[in-house]
Symmetry: C2
Subunit: 133 residues, 2 copies
């Protein structure tokens, strides 16, 4: 761990739902006060989530690097250290690192009926290349 990093990377996230190397360090589980979990997600350069939805939304807080957030049918938004993304419920989207730098974000993920995320298909190399040029 570099001296200026805040959190350990944690465990690698499954290739089924992530392209490239992505890692999760869980910080907080849902409990009686907190209707969400909190974790740190690290994407290596080029890594990204599959397309997915959150039934009750998710908040991303970028703490290192840069990358992209894209909702289906919209232009990708560049995100970087210090940015916050308030992801609406039920919106198909993906997020991940830029092609040359890592991306580290805290994720606050709400629950709805015990579900936090619905996973869809991968972001193809063509889809990724079209925003990550």
């Amino acid at each position: 761990m570099e001296s200026n990093e805040i959190f350990q990377k944690g465990q690698q996230l499954p290739k089924k739902w992530f392209t490239g190397n992505a890692f999760l360090n869980p910080l907080l589980d849902r409990d009686k006060n907190n209707e969400f979990s909190v974790g740190v997600v690290t994407f290596e350069a080029g890594a990204r989530t599959n397309w997915h939805t959150h039934p009750k939304g998710q908040v991303l807080i970028v703490i290192e690097g840069s990358g992209f957030y894209q909702e289906r049918g919209k232009p990708a938004r560049v995100i970087k250290k210090g940015d916050v993304v308030n992801i609406p419920e039920g919106i198909e989207h993906w997020h991940g690192a830029s092609s040359s730098r890592n991306l580290v974000h805290i994720a606050i993920t709400n629950f709805k009926n015990n579900i936090q995320v619905n996973w869809l298909q991968p972001v193809t190399d063509n889809e990724y290349a079209s925003v990550a040029l």
Copy 2:
């Protein structure tokens, strides 16, 4: 802003509820999905909250520096970069910086009946000195 800082300090917090210099950068307001607000709080060395309670708890994620978290009647806990504190509901406590270094934490603060915090008396210099030696 130093190049390695993630967030702006934001606005100074009121002396009525904070001893020393503390600042808030609001990141997210409560909305239909998120039954909490999120903000970054920066405490300069020696700065701390008053004693207070949260009716539905608060989660602290320390991203820089070091300081203390103390519940009434218990020893102070040293907190530092990378630490997470899950503060229970209704527990009288305070948090703040060490005497020689700043403390920066993200705070996720839940709502209960539109209330996030109940402010109590200041942490006296004697109380602070007893943990911050």
